[in-house]
């Protein structure tokens, strides 16, 4: 299914957003996030952005205080996922204007919605910022 989960985690290791494309119980999620965060946050800037974990790969990237971690199948294109993360950040940036951790905290539902516009069923369906944001803006206006 390509992408298995998308996490946003801050420097302290607190989850700020979690989107799973396969069902995991709360305990499984807690364990998984703990392991991944420990593994990825310990790495430094000079190290590569790919970490093998269990039977899949994690592609991560750090923006300011926030880590974006994407768990993907082993044959997924790592560089494309990095581009996807960047696109996600740019999209949020355009919507919130200089996005920061707080924006995502206070608009978690909207962030989820953006992700849903971009990813469905674990595969990326939309890569145009305008297309991603237009329904969100419409809905904002409507409500």
């Amino acid at each position: 299914m390509g992408i298995r989960f998308i996490l946003m985690v801050n420097k302290q290791g607190q989850t700020r957003l979690a989107q799973y494309y396969e069902w995991l119980t709360l305990e499984e999620r807690r364990a998984l996030e703990g392991e991944i965060v420990r593994k990825c946050l310990a790495r430094n800037e000079q190290q590569c952005s790919f970490v093998e974990h269990r039977n899949y790969k994690i592609v991560y990237r750090r923006y300011a205080s926030l880590f974006f971690l994407v768990g993907v199948d082993n044959d997924e294109n790592e560089l494309a996922i990095l581009e996807f993360i960047h696109l996600l950040v740019e999209t949020m940036d355009r919507h919130f204007g200089n996005v920061c951790e707080l924006d995502i905290m206070f608009h978690l539902e909207k962030a989820h919605f953006m992700l849903e516009e971009m990813v469905m069923n674990g595969s990326i369906v939309e890569t145009s910022k305008a297309n991603i944001l237009s329904p969100i803006q419409l809905m904002d206006k409507a409500s």
Binding site: A18, Q46, F50, N77, L79, A80, E109, N121, S123, M139
Partner: protein, 925 residues
């Protein structure tokens, strides 16, 4: 029902309040959250939908970020879902997507809500429900909502259609029969030129093709078109993934596709796409020389890049190439070796894998040296990673790549001394294994063991204890190769051995026993008659080393290094040393240690007389007690000098079950009787013959095989036993005659360049235990080949099974199966529509008639005219009946004709392939 009052609703905390409260943390996070949860539980029962939905939203937040169970709110989420307001709906869908799963009890209640929203005129509502369906669909939902999804697949709202396409994957997975309904529309979307749709549909196909590529071969032309035309990197990457799966199945397809991929590789500026091209070429097009060369060029660019990401991926790509084109790795050897000291552990491990892939019998020494140096410098984790891979690579296939065992054994010794080494267990196994298998290496093995044993510092490192136990065993078992057995005794009995765990302590004592017996034997039995008998001819090659030992330095070449230092005096000292070292162990808490210490001391007591006597008068052999003791020594020595050989894991299986022995009977009762009896370890096994020897009692428990009778008697008994059950014995390395009787199982030519050591090893391992050895120890090639065959079969079977897999079965049905009905139906009706139609026409549903919905630019050339519903439906039915046992090939060959027709039309390069031979006909352009 006492819902919250109006006041509660009015002053309800919003999500924002909740988050702010969490951030302030006035009363501690946990306390705050449980208070909030309490509120939520109350609010969610409210009849006011706004209150309810806000409560739900807060609950989602807590569930998503703070791992709080929200399953209790499942039904409330459904209630909110029924709200007419879009904002409520949105929250409800959000909650449902996050929390529902296959075993949520209220899942079935959602079907009607979803259906309503799927048919809504508001595209956002449709989109929300599709999104939700893609997350929660189970069999029932997928089945019940298939018609709605089918309709949406050709919706004229792109926003909705792309979602419908994406959701199809989940629906197919859960309810394979939906393929029959939706597949055709899905394929139509492949021809859409809108990048949004294309991206979604290609994504779906790349997932589908991963599972069962063969089914999607007929769609290759469409994928090819997308590959050539695509402007979007993301789509190209996905299509490349599809081709990586399809190309190995159909060489002609690979021929066609390899050029465009190379073009893409040359032209693209995007690293992600470039890497995907490289990966596709090295995985699936590895027999295309020029393509591989180009890919390797690009890999090299990656390797030398500053960016660690590219470097990692370059190494990763190299490791994929390595299996087929090892030269690529050797060409980039320097970069790979340099990466071993990269700051990134992931890169290091990747390069280690590559280095190990390069190892062959010619360079194993060189590479191991480099790696051991790296291991010395690196952190414990990576150090052990290195050691582990050296050990496993070198021991592969019974040390296939090792030519110089002397070198390897000393490498093992060197590795155990690396400070971070934690591979003790593996090194232990290999020490013993090599000792058993390779006769010629034993002198060197003993030397390495000596160096390890003699170093008191090593005893303090608990990771090394396993290695030391192997060294101790080697020293006892092969003591005759030692230049100075007395040294061994001192090493084995040194005070710091108290640091060892009891199980290894026991091995030490047992080895000391063996060494002692050897010394005594040399001194009294042999040394008594002819002084200076060399213990083994192989000493001669080691005379140069004797300089190390002061005691040995004066001994002439080839003369015994052993008998010289062993004088009666030294024996007396030795016995004293044993008594001194072992007496405290008589009180050991470990039975094994205690027992063995007692054995050894008992033996020493027996011998002492002799030693004391003969110290005075050496030639007085005829004295009764002396004779007695000499006899004992000889006996025990004989017992110990029986050589051990490797035993096949399956050897036991060859022993026939004697009559009257029931193996399957429950021995449970036995446990109550002798539950407290320790299981005998393998070498304490004794035959327990009755014996008249009066000394038997003293050493019947000496852990020797023949504990009674005279030495020749016991040997003859053993020999007889061997003769009767020769099959189950492994020939000992000593008995050259036997080993020559066995034809070498593996072709000597294969091992042609191995030297004597290796061929000896081959002989040793080949003897009698060839076919049934445990697989990882089976050196001979024939066995390996056999294993491959065995391995391959299940795979083939699996493929067959996967063909029966319902999803791919359905897809095949549509893509291949119904082709055989086409000639009658479609060709007669629409001779010029043989293009696309073929793949789809057979898929007729009631809805079909109203589909003239979207047709794109090139529809003129691929116009479909499905006017033959009735006929085709009939055919489809028939076909469905046959579906289960239809042979794919049969279908294909039957469908050859129309396909070839099509391909001619489509690409003006006729392929001159006889239809009969083609598994996948010429539709491949």
């Amino acid at each position: 029902m006492s819902g919250p009052s109006l006041m509660d609703s009015l002053f309800q905390r919003t999500l924002e309040d909740l988050i702010k409260g969490l951030r302030q943390q006035l009363i501690g996070e946990q306390a705050f959250i449980s208070k909030a949860l309490e509120e939520i539980r109350k609010e969610i029962k409210s009849t006011d939908l706004s209150t309810k939905s806000t409560a739900l939203l807060k609950l989602c937040y807590l569930s998503n970020l703070h791992f709080h169970d929200m399953s209790f709110a499942a039904f409330h989420a459904l209630e909110v879902l029924s709200s007419p307001r879009f904002s409520h709906k949105k929250i409800a869908y959000h909650a449902i997507s996050l929390s529902f799963h296959d075993s949520t009890p209220v899942l079935l209640l959602i079907t009607n809500h979803l259906r309503k929203d799927l048919t809504s005129t508001n595209e956002f509502e449709v989109s929300l429900s599709l999104q939700c369906l893609s997350r929660i669909a189970n069999v029932d939902l997928a089945r019940d909502l298939t018609p709605e999804v089918f309709t949406l697949l050709s919706s004229n709202k792109l926003y909705v259609r792309k979602r419908a396409v994406a959701v199809v994957l989940r629906v197919f997975e859960k309810y394979p029969d939906s393929v029959r309904v939706c597949f055709k529309r899905l394929v139509e979307n492949l021809e859409n030129y809108d990048p949004q749709i294309l991206s979604a549909v290609v994504g779906v196909f790349s997932e589908l093709a991963c599972k069962d590529p063969r089914s999607y071969l007929p769609l290759a032309p469409e994928f090819y078109k997308i590959l050539v035309d695509s402007k979007s990197n993301w789509i190209s990457i996905k299509v490349l993934k599809i081709f990586a799966k399809l190309a190995p199945l159909e060489p002609r397809l690979a021929n066609r596709v390899v050029e465009p991929i190379c073009d893409l590789m040359r032209k693209t500026g995007a690293k992600s796409l470039l890497f995907e091209c490289v990966r596709t070429v090295v995985t699936s097009f590895s027999e295309y020389e020029s393509a591989v060369r180009l890919a390797v060029e690009k890999i090299r660019e990656f390797l030398v890049d500053e960016d660690p990401n590219l470097k990692y991926l370059g190494l990763h790509a190299l490791s994929i190439v390595a299996s087929k084109h090892l030269w690529v790795v050797s060409e980039n050897k320097e970069v790979v070796i340099k990466s071993l000291s990269d700051p990134d552990p992931n890169i290091k491990i990747e390069s280690l894998r590559l280095v190990m892939a390069m190892v062959s019998e010619h360079n194993v020494a060189e590479i191991s040296k480099v790696l051991v140096n790296y291991a010395l410098k690196s952190d414990p984790l990576f150090c052990n990673e290195i050691l582990g891979s050296i050990l496993s690579t070198c021991s592969r296939n019974v040390y296939e790549i090792i030519v110089d065992f002397d070198w390897y054994v000393s490498l093992l010794g060197e590795m155990s001394r690396i400070p971070h080494c934690q591979m003790g267990e593996e090194i232990e196994n290999q020490f013993i294994d090599i000792g058993l298998r390779v006769k010629d290496v034993r002198p060197e093995l003993v030397r390495v063991a000596r160096d390890l044993l003699i170093d008191p510092a090593l005893l303090g490192n608990s990771f090394l204890h396993r290695v030391l136990s192997a060294a101790a065993w080697v020293s006892g078992e092969y003591v005759e190769f030692s230049r100075n057995p007395l040294e061994f005794m001192e090493a084995l009995l040194q005070p710091r051995t108290s640091l060892l765990p009891p199980s290894i302590m026991a091995i030490y004592i047992q080895s000391a026993f063996k060494v002692l017996v050897f010394c005594l034997h040399t001194c009294f039995v042999r040394g008594g008659s002819t002084a200076g008998v060399s213990a083994s001819a192989s000493y001669e090659s080691f005379d140069d080393l004797s300089v190390e030992n002061g005691a040995d330095s004066t001994v002439a070449h080839g003369q015994t290094c052993t008998s010289a230092p062993i004088t009666n005096e030294s024996i007396v000292n030795l016995l004293k040393l044993v008594e001194l070292a072992l007496s405290p162990l008589l009180g050991s808490h470990d039975v094994e240690v205690q027992e063995r210490a007692r054995n050894l001391l008992g033996f020493v007591d027996l011998i002492k007389l002799e030693a004391l006597n003969s110290s005075g008068q050496e030639e007085n052999d005829s004295e009764r007690k002396g004779v007695e003791a000499t006899k004992i020594i000889r006996l025990v020595h004989d017992a110990f000098s029986k050589e051990l050989g490797p035993v096949s894991l399956t050897a036991q299986g060859k022993v026939p079950v004697p009559d009257g022995l029931t193996l399957n009977e429950n021995l449970g009762d036995l446990e109550t009787i002798c539950g407290d009896i320790e299981l005998p370890s393998s070498n304490t096994f004794s035959f327990g013959y009755p014996s008249e020897e009066k000394d038997v009692s003293s050493f019947s428990n000496l852990q020797i095989k023949e504990d009674s009778g005279q030495s020749n008697e016991s040997t003859s008994l053993l020999a007889e036993h061997r003769k009767r059950h020769g099959l189950y014995y492994l020939p000992s390395g000593k008995s050259e005659v036997i080993s020559n009787d066995y034809p070498p199982a593996n072709d000597p030519a294969l091992q042609g360049d191995n030297n004597d050591n290796a061929s000896d090893l081959v002989k040793l391992t080949a003897e009698s235990l060839v076919p049934k050895r445990k697989p990882n120890h089976s050196k001979p090639r024939p066995v390996v080949v056999k294993l491959d065959e065995v391995d391959e079969k299940p795979v083939a079977v699996k493929q067959l099974e996967s063909r029966d897999d319902s999803l791919s079965g359905a897809v095949r049905d549509i893509l291949f199966g119904s082709e055989d009905i086409l000639p009658t139906s479609s060709r007669s009706n629409l001779p010029n529509s043989n293009r696309k139609g073929k793949k789809k026409q057979h898929m007729i549903t009631q809805v079909e008639s109203k589909e003239n919905v979207v047709d794109d630019g090139n529809s003129s050339s691929r116009r479909r005219k499905d006017h033959s519903h009735g006929k085709e439906r009939r055919h489809r039915k028939k076909n469905a009946e046959e579906r289960n046992e239809t042979d794919r090939k049969e279908k294909e060959s039957s469908s050859n004709h129309p396909r070839r027709h099509k391909s001619r039309q489509r690409a003006e390069e006729p392929l001159k392939v006889p239809p009969q031979t083609s598994v996948i006909p010429d539709f491949l352009l």
